[in-house]
Symmetry: C2
Subunit: 355 residues, 2 copies
DNA sequence: CATGATTTTGGGAATGTTCCCAAAAATATA
DNA sequence: TATATTTTTGGGAACATTCCCAAAATCATG
């Protein structure tokens, strides 16, 4: 049961002033006597007065709130992106509402409605792996609420986007495997609905082709990113008449699952089969052998997405041109592809304490 | 630049109705002709009408929004708690705003103001390690906005709280070390400001005392949970004239940092020194050796905290009695304390895919 | 001390919605 | 057909704030 809220009228009445004067005193308007302002601020502090942002938002039609929608946040990736974005947005005076869709298209739509109802000024989005229809995001666009996609981006919408160079990252990962002498390189790919999944697959293909290695469709498997499936597919690959001598996985959790399966079969990594992941999850530096992986500037993805959104919000005339930012990736080489590299698997750990 | 928002008045004008009737049609009030309701709903859908939650909140003085404040969310702990809480709250029709204080007291106070200004109906809080003064939380209490503490709880406030049995968890962890024959058991503890840090220390002490092992103050170190400090203190302990033969760490990141230092010194785990952590981070099952740790029902902490908050919100008469829920912990035994246990370090992995 | 200029204050509209009460329309009853 | 009853609709107040314009108070200048 909430008690009566303190309003500017309460303050006005106690001090025998009008609400207008109190409002001016609180917002720092110059036209108010110093003495009066002091009296108002003093009483406001004493009563724990908090201006009602709802009323102001209703009046100004701006909530100073940005919605961030992510498909999950159990892995470290999205929390880090959010932290980066939040930092930039907070400095610009915006609050942040975080929604996670749990990789469910239905939940994503519900979140969409929610953000629309709470009248956010803009949204940052990484859609779910199930999302193939983007009508629910176009509503924002039609209402003039800026949308910025990050990480999982949408070709069919003309809005600002932040991605990493998935193609190049994948290309270099596969080229690295080729240089270590591997020839039968498998790829555990993600669902076709994800743009970055498609780009990484292209990078994989082109690296092989450019090194005169034929592409064997039996070595390419797209899956839905649920780890029990990964387990099945890795086993399947190992059971092939001509099993692969290397595996490029769509992401680190997949690579780690593969590593687990391969170790339990008593195969040697990287001699029998080498593994490369994608995204440099903190875990990847800690396991044995350390996982070679394509790192991405996670924090910077969030910061950049926030900046693009602020660009859209700042323009008070017509809508500014959408921008596309592609951030570079970097190959981190560890024991899963090269012997003697990071033998303990411990390197550049940066995770924080938890309780 | 946001375009004109569609309001019920727009709908009312186009259909030659009053705003009252449109409002009734949209909210499902029975007293409206079926034909009229259909016309209204149809036009509303066509115009992408979204009711303005701000206006409603202003009127009802309830925002249907809950604030969750956590000290960090880079480790997996708090994201999991948030997911649990969010699930329960969403089912009860509440939205969630997440704030992370980045372990900074200052930021926590800013977040407090922010949640107060956005008029949340209640808050779930885990305070920072720096927080020793809780006045900023008492403001909520005074305004009749329910507060529930979880994980890091506050003795001096009479509100609902959710904790795990830190004392018992620590006791069992240390007892386990004693049973494996260890006698010089060190404890890397957290800051005294955290209630769970104190409880774990008590569990450690009592386990030693009850097994007639004298407590050596040189083996107890409280630190601020920043990993570089952990590194220094572990080295310090190993350099003692009589180094410990086991280490009970306040949390898993600390334990993993210790493991790293100990391995790099060429000591055997657990023969030369055994390690136990706290909270069963997903990483703990993946490293080598697997980390023995005290697991807590992370998801359930969030769900339970949400339930306690709903209890407070549901009561429409006077304020209900605060509740205290203490959830059980469970010792997970792995290779860092027992040889031959989980030799690969891979066990019960449940982390999700990331990009 | 009067006049004009400037500073300070007050009143009302506006924001989008719900809810209460009254009015109008439709329906039932005599 | 007139009256009573029920259903459906409309008009205003209320929520907390800001902003514009006018009114009041203060100040400076001759």
């Amino acid at each position: 049961m909430k008690s009566h809220q303190i309003t500017i009228i309460d303050i006005a009445n106690t001090l025998n002033l009008s609400k207008s004067t109190v409002s001016r005193a609180l917002t720092g308007h110059p036209n108010v006597k110093v003495k009066t302002r002091e009296r108002v601020l003093e009483l406001a502090a004493e009563l724990d007065y908090q201006r009602n942002q709802l009323a102001i938002s209703l009046l100004t039609n701006r909530t100073q709130t940005i919605g961030i929608m992510v498909p999950e946040f159990l892995s470290s990736f999205f929390p880090k992106v959010i932290i980066g974005a939040q930092d930039v947005l907070a400095k610009a005076g915006y609050n942040v509402v975080i929604c996670h869709s749990n990789e469910s298209y239905e939940t994503e739509i519900v979140n969409t409605k929610l953000l629309l109802a709470s009248r956010v000024d803009g949204i940052l989005v990484s859609h779910t792996k199930e999302t193939r229809n983007f009508e629910h995001f176009k509503i924002f666009d039609r209402k003039g609420i800026p949308v910025v996609f990050f990480n999982r981006i949408v070709d069919e919408m003309s809005v600002s986007k932040v991605a990493v160079d998935d193609y190049e990252g994948a290309y270099q990962a596969v080229e690295h495997l080729i240089k270590t002498g591997k020839r039968r390189i498998a790829h555990l790919s993600g669902p076709d609905s994800l743009q970055n999944s498609r780009s990484r697959l292209n990078g994989y293909r082109d690296a092989l082709t450019n090194h005169q290695i034929p592409i064997d469709p039996a070595l390419i498997i797209s899956y839905d990113l649920t780890l029990d499936k990964a387990n099945i597919y890795v086993n399947h690959l190992l059971n092939l008449p001509q099993p692969p001598d290397a595996l490029f996985a769509i992401n680190d959790p997949t690579a780690i699952e593969a590593l687990k399966v391969i170790k339990s079969r008593g195969l040697r990594i990287p001699e029998d089969i080498a593994i490369v992941g994608f995204s440099d999850d903190p875990i990847s530096a800690l396991i044995e052998p350390g996982l070679t992986t394509v790192s991405q500037p996670v924090d910077e993805i969030g910061r950049e997405a926030a900046r693009l959104l602020l660009n859209q919000l700042a323009a008070d005339d017509e809508r500014p041109e959408p921008e596309l930012v592609v951030l570079p990736t970097r190959l981190i080489i560890r024991g899963s592809t090269v012997t003697g590299e990071n033998p303990t698997g411990f390197a550049d750990q940066t995770s924080l304490p938890s309780f």
